[in-house]
């Protein structure tokens, strides 16, 4: 047999075993590569992978005092931010980012609705919100509700928030996660943006979803 003389000290069975082993490893590698036909996430710059269990329908009160159901967002995209008005820094920054992202999109931006849901319903009444939202965008909707209603929505969106009271303070603050949620026209969460994601990246992610809505 031709193999014996070629590989010194190695018998034929071992040689076949090695060849087979290499072939299996190679085949396994090829299979793994081919099975990764799903890119890791919604691909766009800035947008994050979203667990499908997050989000869901909600009913709250808007800044005009009317009942607002998440169904009213159906058919449009929405950028949703959970914040509060007694927040001089982070929340205005994020609302500014959202507003700019929408305006960067020009005509397409009309299909994106900016929404702010308060995590501090005790202070943020509809009246308070009605004076706050126009500062950021003419179409920004402010949503509030009872403590329980807000808690339910925040829980569905996995928003962490916690009141921080210090006896020496005459006020309280809210610790909170600061994400922006992109809702698809179906109402599902299409993507999430970390605090500080530039408006250009938010706009690019939304455009990507608009081009391939099946992903949303």
């Amino acid at each position: 047999m031709p193999y014996k003389s070629y590989i010194m000290g190695m018998n034929r069975k071992l040689h076949i075993a090695i060849v087979a082993f290499v072939a299996i490893v190679f085949a396994a590698g090829a299979w793994l590569n081919l099975s990764q036909d799903d890119p890791p996430e919604n691909t766009a710059v800035g947008g994050m992978v979203v667990n499908v269990d997050i989000g869901g329908p909600f009913t709250l009160t808007d800044h005009t005092g009317s009942t607002f159901s998440s169904e009213e967002l159906a058919g449009d995209y929405a950028l949703v931010y959970f914040g509060y008005t007694f927040c001089p820094d982070i929340c205005p920054t994020e609302l500014g980012q959202i507003a700019e992202a929408i305006d960067l999109m020009g005509a397409d931006g009309k299909r994106v609705r900016p929404v702010m849901i308060t995590i501090d319903p005790e202070r943020d009444t509809p009246e308070v919100l009605s004076e706050y939202v126009p500062l950021f965008h003419e179409r920004l909707v402010g949503l509030t509700g009872s403590v329980a209603e807000v808690r339910e929505v925040a829980t569905n969106y996995r928003v962490f928030y916690k009141r921080f009271d210090d006896p020496s303070y005459t006020y309280y603050l809210m610790d909170h996660t600061s994400f922006v949620y992109l809702l698809a026209p179906t109402g599902e969460i299409a993507s999430m943006f970390r605090y500080g994601t530039p408006p250009e990246d938010i706009a690019a992610t939304i455009r990507q979803h608009m081009r391939s809505p099946a992903r949303g």
Partner: protein, 179 residues
């Protein structure tokens, strides 16, 4: 071309007030102090700036005051995983021959119990108190509510952004926020 010239002129004009309100002393330079517009019933505001220590000693910002607020404190943001926590701190060090930034997401002078809303395109006088330099009076320019820098929102001052700067607040030519 005319549009570009117009935009450039506006840009230049908006930059002028910023440098006019920088403040320099023997030991410190405070650059681009700015704040954000607030809603009529909004109770808190924030002031940002860059502080430079011009000498080998450095300094420490330990307090601040503003007549338009009941109380003024210094705060910092701590990002704890994905949770944002804002906390009052005793002071902010200004490194020797170095700078410290009070900017969104980090340190800021926090105005509590605003007696009147901060109006965009106005200037508010704030007194800063330093450990070494003592009291220093600055003038902070009030930008739009969603502004993220001393120059206003984004740095793109093309026509659309110029509209955004005003349109976003809907103040128009008259500050119709008084009740």
């Amino acid at each position: 071309m005319f549009k570009t010239l117009f935009a450039a002129t506006i840009l230049a004009a908006t930059m002028l007030p910023a440098s006019a309100h920088d403040l320099e002393t023997d030991t410190l330079k405070i650059s681009h102090p700015w704040s954000r517009a607030t809603a009529p019933n909004q109770q808190v505001g924030a002031v940002f700036m860059e502080i430079q220590a011009k000498t080998d000693q450095g300094d420490r910002l330990i307090a601040a005051s503003f007549e338009g607020a009941e109380k003024v404190e210094i705060h910092n943001h701590i990002m704890d995983g994905d949770v944002m926590r804002m906390r009052r701190i005793d002071g902010v060090d200004v490194p020797a021959n170095g700078t410290v930034e009070l900017a969104p997401g980090g340190y800021h002078v926090m105005l509590l119990g605003l007696k009147a809303p901060l109006l965009e395109e106005t200037v508010i006088p704030v007194t800063l108190v330093f450990e070494r330099a003592g009291s220093v009076k600055i003038e902070a320019i009030v930008q739009a509510a969603g502004a993220r820098g001393a120059m206003g929102g984004s740095m793109k001052h093309d026509e659309m952004k110029m509209d955004m700067k005003d349109g976003g607040t809907k103040h128009g030519s008259g500050h119709g926020m008084s009740k």
